[in-house]
Amino acid sequence: MTAGSNGKPETAAKLIVRGLTVFYGEKKAVGPVGLDIVGQHVTALIGPSGCGKSTFLRSLNRMNELIPGCRVEGEVRLDGDPIYGAGIDPVAVRRRIGMVFQRSNPFPKSIKENVAYGLRIGGIGDERDIANRVERALTQAALWEEVKDRLNDSAMGLSGGQQQRLCIARALAVEPEVLLMDEPASALDPIATAHIEELINELSAEYTVVIVTHNMQQAARVADYTAFFYLGELVEFDRTDVLFTKPNDSRTEDYITGRFG
């Protein structure tokens, strides 16, 4: 067993992606992509707008199916289980692979009910159980200390950074194995961003995190692995420390050094 780039032992691939291609109508948006996402590590997806990184991210928990005209080819396996295929429930997939979006989107409910929402939908009715799970999720999202005395206040009264951590808590409450994050800090100020980045680092001890970011320094800071997408193609995938010091492909080099233009 070799040490990973963050000092943690290398874990096996949590998500195995093979020949994944996503079409919007007749137009190919991204692919074919082959990639192994290592468990309990952070993988960042970077690339210019329209490169297909967000489309790729959404295809990892079948979120693209909600978009009309979208079609996916190839396979994604989570711990060996295919997530695409006849008879596989996308809702069950999304329970194992949660997602956090660019804009925090709390429901117009109390802080507690935001986090409890997924649990209630999932059929958990015991209030004591829900309270425990809410506390655990809020603690994991590094929000508990700030909100424990006002759990019944509206979530809309929280700051932007707190709202985003609330959404992370909501995603964590149903105890997923993988957390997908689509530019989770792009609408936040630097301090709130630093909180989110620290949180991502902590979460990777337990969860597998895949994050899309426009901020290359953010990828360099938080990710153990980085994948560079360009024009719908996965150009390069490597350990972050390698990709940001000696990338293999000249397109990666041009993009990360700011030579595109």
Binding site: M216, Q217, A220, T245, K246, E253, I256, T257, G258, R259
Partner: protein
């Protein structure tokens, strides 16, 4: 040939200009260092004390440039967060100036010995010492060219030449030893000449460092201390 100097320019032209300024400063510093080595050896062979004094003054300009390059690199690191080839270029630049500055100091040391020697009658006609100096100057010149062109092969040829310099040093040392054994009155001058040979040998080592840094800058592969640190691949 792999080139480190990017054919593509930065989208941000101000950033591009800052990197160019670092490069220009480095090259100016390199030219001054070449001057000082060339001048110090001519001061020795021509017994020209005035030239030796002039070269010592050039070193002050080199020291000034070293600080300017350091400052420029710090500014770019702080403001641009460079990555990949830009990061390797800047970290290389920071090390390159240290080697160049040391070479300048060794040039000054040569001049100081020359000034001492010029107060005495010549010990012997110089043959090996100017040849050794030429070898060292060429190494330095080639290393700087390799840096400009991002030329790994040229850098590696510089590294390979260091053994020639070492051979010259051994040869010169042995010869000076015979002079000293012949007549103790030769010792003052012979030890000065031996020091100069040692300075040149050290300059060869610094030129070798420059070559190794160029290889790192271009390939991202550290070839220093090869085989001396055990397996660090």
């Amino acid at each position: 040939m792999i080139r480190a100097s990017h054919s593509r320019e930065h989208t941000n032209r101000e950033y591009e200009g800052e990197l160019r300024r670092v490069r220009e400063h480095l090259l100016l510093m390199g030219a001054k260092v070449e001057d000082i080595i060339h001048g110090s050896i001519r001061a020795l062979t021509d017994r020209d004390s005035m030239l030796a004094e002039q070269m010592i003054a050039v070193d002050r300009k080199i020291n000034q440039l070293e600080m300017e390059v350091d400052e420029l690199c710090m500014q770019v690191l702080a403001r641009r967060q460079p990555v990949a080839s830009d990061l390797r270029f800047l970290t290389t630049a920071l090390k390159l100036v240290t080697d160049l500055e040391r070479i300048g100091d060794l040039g000054v040391n040569i001049c100081e010995r020359v000034l001492e020697l010029n107060g005495e009658p010549p010990l012997k006609p110089y043959v090996d010492l100017p040849n050794m100096a030429r070898e060292v100057q060429e190494m330095l010149h080639e290393a700087l060219d390799a840096f400009v062109a991002g030329d790994i092969e040229r850098a590696q040829r510089v590294i390979a030449r260091d053994k020639n310099v070492d051979a010259y040093y051994t040869q010169i040392f042995r010869e000076l030893l015979t002079y000293m054994m012949e007549d103790p009155r030769n010792i003052f001058r012979a030890t000065r000449l031996q020091s100069i040979a040692k300075y040149l040998e050290r300059i060869g080592d610094h030129a070798t460092n420059l070559g190794e840094l160029v290889v790192f800058m271009v390939k991202g592969k550290d070839i220093r201390h090869a085989g001396k640190l055990g397996d660090n691949s």
